[in-house]
């Protein structure tokens, strides 16, 4: 027994030395494979807008890239974090320690995202977040290896407030999901509402995945605010909107504004309920020929049109692989340097650029839900009202509190 152990220890030590040398050379692909982990909500409130579809998108990107980079295979693994930060960080830790995952994407849910970004960065691994929204990811919690790819609460709050406040939505009341994301969305939107001369009358917080919004809606109603801002997402947003209809709140001159809405939410609400609503998005499948081409291929596999999270995961993976190729290695520092220096331009991102704080800035869109009469098909749900250029949509670097930004 003792003998066996010392032998094992010896071989382990030899291995350590050799792999140490390989690391020192800093070239090529470590462990002979590039592994991409899709860690997201696969079964919970956000699973329809991310979930398995995100993994499908990442797998598509790998396939389109050719399945190999620098002659080494690319592998995709996926897991469900169930919107629990503990499961997310345990999984990420295991992936990085044991599976040698090089990049983690998806990461819906800001609580999970913050936990994983910090952990991965401690271990020098890249996270490309396509799902979460909190601006903390590129501000006080920013890391050298964290990229925030698709959207954030600053852009959502700014674009939507700029559309709603001038058109008669001066007073607001928030119904907010009670965790990092909701708080961040409420805070950012509040900032713009007040800046534009509006007023916030109050807010109420609800737990993630709430079934009954009636009492929150009632509080919002009795506040007398013109706008009821929904600082939540997914099933929570659709539930709140439906129940507002049930109580006839929208018929009394108060307007519901969803601050984060995905195509899939509109789909589940139906155009009848949702028509006329305006919100901000980073992507719409029916924008141009390129987005339609991608959407069609995605639909063939997933049986639903891609949301911005899913399309973003494709784009993130593609650009990550391009950066690996250009850097000639999957070493995180080299890849990050490449990612931050290249232009991101594909069907997903227009005028894309990854900044020092990890924020990927690109054009954002103000969307409006079509009337049932305007819709020509099952997924013909939205129209783009306004395109907001990258430089206007996102928080300027000068405002960022990220320690990586040199001022």
């Amino acid at each position: 027994m003792k003998n066996l152990f010392s032998k094992a220890a010896l071989s382990v030590a030899v291995l350590a030395m050799t792999s140490g040398m390989a690391g020192a050379a800093g070239k090529g692909i470590s462990d002979g494979v590039v592994k991409i982990g899709v860690l997201t909500d696969m079964s919970g409130v956000y699973s329809t807008l991310g979930g398995k579809g995100t993994q499908v998108a990442v797998e598509m990107a790998v396939k389109d890239f050719g399945g190999k980079v620098l002659g080494k295979p690319i592998q995709v693994i996926g897991a469900d974090h169930q919107n629990k930060a503990d499961i997310a960080s345990a999984k990420a830790r295991e992936w990085i320690d044991n599976e040698k995952v090089d990049m983690i994407t998806g990461l819906l849910n800001s609580g999970c995202a913050l936990a994983v970004q910090k952990l991965a960065s401690d271990k020098k691994k890249i996270t490309m977040n396509t799902g979460a929204a909190s601006t903390d990811l590129t501000n006080k919690a920013c890391t050298p290896y964290g990229i925030h790819y698709v959207y954030d609460t600053y852009a959502l709050g700014k674009v939507t407030a700029e559309a709603v406040v001038p058109s008669g939505g001066k007073s607001w009341y928030f119904i907010t999901a009670d965790y990092a994301f909701g708080h961040s969305l409420e805070a950012n939107t509040t900032k713009f509402v007040t800046k534009l001369g509006g007023k916030v009358l109050g807010s109420v917080r609800h737990p993630l995945s709430t079934a009954d919004f009636s009492s929150y809606l009632l509080q919002a109603q009795s506040s007398g605010a013109q706008i009821i801002g929904l600082a939540n997402a997914g099933g929570d947003t659709t539930n709140a909107i439906k129940q507002a209809r049930e109580f006839g709140i929208d018929k009394k001159g108060q307007r519901l504004v969803g601050l984060l809405i995905f195509d899939t939410d509109i789909k589940s609400l139906g155009l009848n309920v949702a028509q006329g609503m305006q919100f901000t998005s980073g992507f719409y499948w029916d924008r141009d020929a390129a987005t339609r081409a991608f959407a069609k291929r995605f639909y063939a596999i997933h049986k639903a049109m891609p949301t911005m999270d899913q399309a973003g995961a494709y784009s993130a993976t593609m650009n990550y692989l391009k950066a690996v190729k250009a850097a000639g290695t999957d070493d995180s520092d080299a890849v990050m340097a490449k990612l931050k220096s290249m232009n991101i331009s594909d069907f997903f991102a227009v005028n894309g650029k990854i900044r020092a704080d990890g924020r990927m800035v690109h054009d954002m869109y103000l969307m409006e839900v079509k009337k049932p009469s305007e819709s020509k098909g099952e997924w013909d749900l939205l129209k783009i009202v306004k395109t907001v250029p990258a430089s206007d949509a996102f928080m300027p670097l000068s405002e960022s509190t990220c320690s990586l930004v040199s001022k």
Binding site: S47, D212, S214, Q219, F247
Partner: protein
């Protein structure tokens, strides 16, 4: 925000709406506990199952049977779902729970806990946790009623009325009829009741079936209000347990009254200090336990 009479009344009304669900679920638990001495941990899962029977009956059963135009209506679901789930409960009782009566009652709790995990796990696998809408709300129950202090959806009003009817109907049968007296006697002294020629095992089976059928009935009532989701029961069940403890376990009237009251207290708390609304029931429970360990309506053991 100042507290207006209108605000308080509205929240209390919504609280009552939640309260009837507490009442009907804790009533089912009390009925089961009274005769079987088992805390039915699967109650929440069976409530969820009831909602799914209604949902699937409306959306999927027709196409499945080759009749794409067939939809199980809401009214039919109110009858069918409790029957289906009640039958399922009877199977559980006959095949599993029955084997445990000779052991510690805690095993019943553990068994039903396991069953709850299984049922919830299966549904989580096939259905979205964020829930699916149940669209079969009858036209006659759509729209709102003006209660003076608020606009209240007709459907919720219907839920309150029918739940109260079912609750007090059950109470009447158990406390005031001959059938009920057998049940109560069976609780006290099964051997004696057996000697009178009553089939006690059958009575136990049917009681369990009725208890879970109540849960399924509540599930159907809930379906048009909340979206139907695999976790709708597990979120509810712990609160209902607290209601049962406060009311006094096994007490029929206790469970009904406590359920209604606590729903309203919860609604009232939302006006005064909203963050405490989910805790207030448990705080009340601690106080009740300190002052009256057997619960408000329970008998000292």
């Amino acid at each position: 925000m100042e507290i207006s009479f209108q605000m308080v009344m509205s929240q209390v009304m919504l609280g009552l709406n939640n309260g009837v669900f507490y009442a009907i679920l804790s009533l089912g638990l009390a009925v089961i506990f009274g005769l079987l001495n088992i805390v039915n941990f699967a109650h929440g899962a069976l409530y969820m199952l009831g909602a799914y029977v209604a949902l699937l009956g409306y959306t999927s059963i027709g196409p499945l049977l080759g009749m794409p135009d067939f939809h199980l209506s809401y009214w039919a679901a109110l009858i069918v779902a409790p029957l289906v789930v009640g039958a399922f409960g009877i199977v559980i009782e006959r095949t599993m729970l029955r084997r445990l009566y000779k052991f510690d009652h805690l095993y019943g709790l553990l068994l039903t806990f396991g069953l709850a995990l299984i049922i919830q796990g299966v549904f989580t696998n096939f259905f979205n946790v964020s829930g699916d809408p149940y669209e079969a709300k009858p036209e006659i129950l759509s729209g709102v009623v003006n209660l003076g202090f608020m606009m209240f959806p007709k459907y919720r009003l219907w839920v309150i009325v029918i739940s109260l009817v079912v609750c007090f109907g059950t109470w009447y049968v158990i406390e005031r009829t001959k059938l009920g007296s057998y049940l109560r006697a069976g609780t006290e002294n099964p051997e004696l009741v057996k000697a009178f020629g009553v089939n006690v095992p059958l009575m136990i089976t049917l009681t369990y079936g009725y208890g879970v059928a109540l849960a399924a009935f509540a599930g159907v009532l809930a379906a048009p209000i909340y979206s139907v989701s695999p976790v709708m029961g597990s979120e509810m069940i712990i609160t209902v347990f607290a209601v049962v403890v406060i009311g006094g376990m096994g007490s029929i009237m206790g469970s009904i009254v406590t359920g209604l009251l606590l729903g309203m207290v919860e609604g009232f708390t939302k006006v005064v200090y909203a963050p405490a609304s989910s805790t207030v029931i448990f705080l009340i429970m601690v106080i009740v336990l300190l002052v009256k360990p057997a619960g408000l309506f329970g008998k000292e053991s």
